[in-house]
Amino acid sequence: MVNKLYQEELMEHFKYPKNKIKLDNPDFFSDIHNPSCGDSVSIQGMLKKDSQTGDLIISQLAFDGSGCVISQATASMLTQFCKNKTVKDILNLNKDDILKLIKIELGPTRLRCALLALQALQDALQKYVE
């Protein structure tokens, strides 16, 4: 029962995070933390224009942070998932997309951990778009 607590993939992302690097001169960035547990995630990324559609596309995405498995592994998975997606698509992502991505059910408290990275990413892009 306990082994199903976190999927193996999630644990792998926590232990060996992807895209946990620092970008020089990122196009967009954001820092965010969860006051109830102290988890923090910062997001940085680069953008490019799609030569055919003209849409803004994420060309590079990186994160940094500290906290629980859910917050950090989700950040890692999200940075992989969002690469080469359009800004518009990412601003439309929601809670359900994240739960689909990490494949676990979460209560309301832990849901906030899972949504931290998305919130940071969307905040950063929103700031950029505005």
Partner: protein
């Protein structure tokens, strides 16, 4: 080491939550305690048999409800050795502190004044004072943690004289910390209260974490204000107590204005308030909850001897501490010596594993305990810790609870390593 108490074990049978959740291991009593059947029954009884508003109804039902409510006040007064009219019902500890900050603070704190807290205060006994001093251009001062053992010791008379001086208007401090448990070395608290009164300052004691574990005696402690919540002492949520020393009643302005607290109201001149306690209780009060709190206190009076309780809870604490010390990754906060002597909670963290992950793992084994920063962010910044786990006991916890918890914790450490 064998820890057991037959009487307490039997008493656990009076708590329906353990019948409805067969395998529940509840180790979060510092957050809220479970409720005995008599408290639940009396709450329901009131709504089913006597429900009506108090202090204003002429009919029989209203008179009965008023009697029940005022009887609850008497019970509380006796429980903490205070006078009847010194007991003000609130929604809880938080409201009690906000009450004092708002009503006493606004009239008595001025630019340049100081309010003294400890570094371990819960947000509830920190934020109201922080806002008050900001608004008044006054200043917060802190009784500091000792860096070796987190005890508030090494305060000589010299230090005390510097800390509490003619600028000090209020000393607002907790009896037991919700993170570190016991924080006061022998006699220091008494010295601080005496010194505060000597310089003309008032003293507010936060008894939220202490009230279910030790005897609170107003006459002995001699505070000006003392606050606690019903729900941490086997009572319902939504009810708390603010003790206000009688000498202060006359000049203390009401926290809220409204029905039942006023004697005469006019269109063209200021209202005349009633005397305490009514003066400080505006609007319809949490009647059922007050009756529930009385039942909880009756339950304590009938079943729990505080000396025996301290012995049992500190034995549980000692057993837990001894075993946590054997886990190399485990870092224990607080002063272990005093926790073993008369503690009832232990806060700790496991290096490199987030407390929320541990807590989620333990949850799968029906173990409920608190994880996070326990509403004391400044303290966690000071200790340079992000988050921690807290095991907090009541008399219905057993040695077996601790064994199951330790087993699960060790499993969790392996899982996350």
């Amino acid at each position: 080491m064998k820890v057991s108490n037959n009487k307490f074990e039997k008493l656990k049978q009076n708590f329906p939550i353990f019948k409805n959740n067969k395998d529940l291991i509840y180790l979060d009593n510092a957050a809220t305690s479970q409720k005995p059947d008599i408290v639940i029954k009396n709450l329901v009884d009131f709504y089913e048999k006597q429900n009506s508003n108090i202090h204003r109804s002429i009919y029989d039902l209203g008179e009965v409800a008023t009697d029940l409510y005022e009887n609850a006040r008497k019970t509380v007064a006796n429980f903490i050795n205070a006078k009847y009219e010194e007991i003000i019902f609130t929604s809880g500890t938080t409201e009690g502190i906000n009450f004092v900050a708002d009503s006493w603070g606004k009239d008595n704190v001025f630019p340049g004044d100081q309010i003294l807290l400890t570094q371990v205060e819960h947000h509830a006994n920190f934020l109201p004072w922080q806002r008050l001093v900001q608004e008044k251009t006054a200043e917060l001062k802190f009784i500091k943690l000792d860096k070796n053992n987190f005890l508030l010791e090494s305060y000589s008379q010299d230090n005390l004289d510097k800390l509490i001086n003619s600028k000090t208007k209020l000393v607002a401090i907790t009896l037991d910390s919700n993170v570190l448990g016991n924080i006061w070395p022998d006699n220091l608290l008494e010295k601080i209260i005496k010194k505060a009164h000597f310089v003309g300052a008032k003293v507010l004691l936060d008894a939220a974490q202490a009230v279910a574990h030790k005897k609170i005696d107003i006459e002995k402690l001699n505070p000006d204000f003392l606050v606690f919540s019903g729900h941490k002492m086997f009572g319902p949520t939504g009810i708390g107590v603010l003790y206000i020393k009688k000498d202060l009643h006359k000049n203390l302005r009401p926290y809220q204005l409204g029905g039942s607290m006023v004697y005469s109201v006019f269109f063209d001149k200021p209202a005349i308030y009633r005397d305490a306690p009514n003066k400080f209780e505006a609007g319809t009060q949490p009647i059922a909850q007050a009756i529930g709190l009385k039942s909880a206190i009756d339950f304590i009076n009938q079943n729990i001897d505080f000396k025996e309780l301290i012995k049992y809870e500190s034995d549980l604490t000692t057993y837990l501490l001894n075993n946590l010390q054997l886990i190399p990754e485990c870092q224990i906060l607080g002063n272990q010596e005093t926790l073993k002597r008369n503690g009832h909670l232990v806060t700790f963290y496991i290096k490199n594993i987030h407390a929320h992950d541990l807590s989620a793992f333990l949850n799968k084994k029906n173990i409920s305990l608190r994880s996070g920063n326990h509403c004391a962010q400044p303290l966690f910044d000071l200790l340079k810790i992000e988050s921690s786990l807290r095991v907090s006991f009541s008399f219905y916890n057993t040695q077996k609870d601790i064994d199951l918890f330790l087993e699960a914790l060790k499993e969790a450490i392996i899982f996350f390593k």
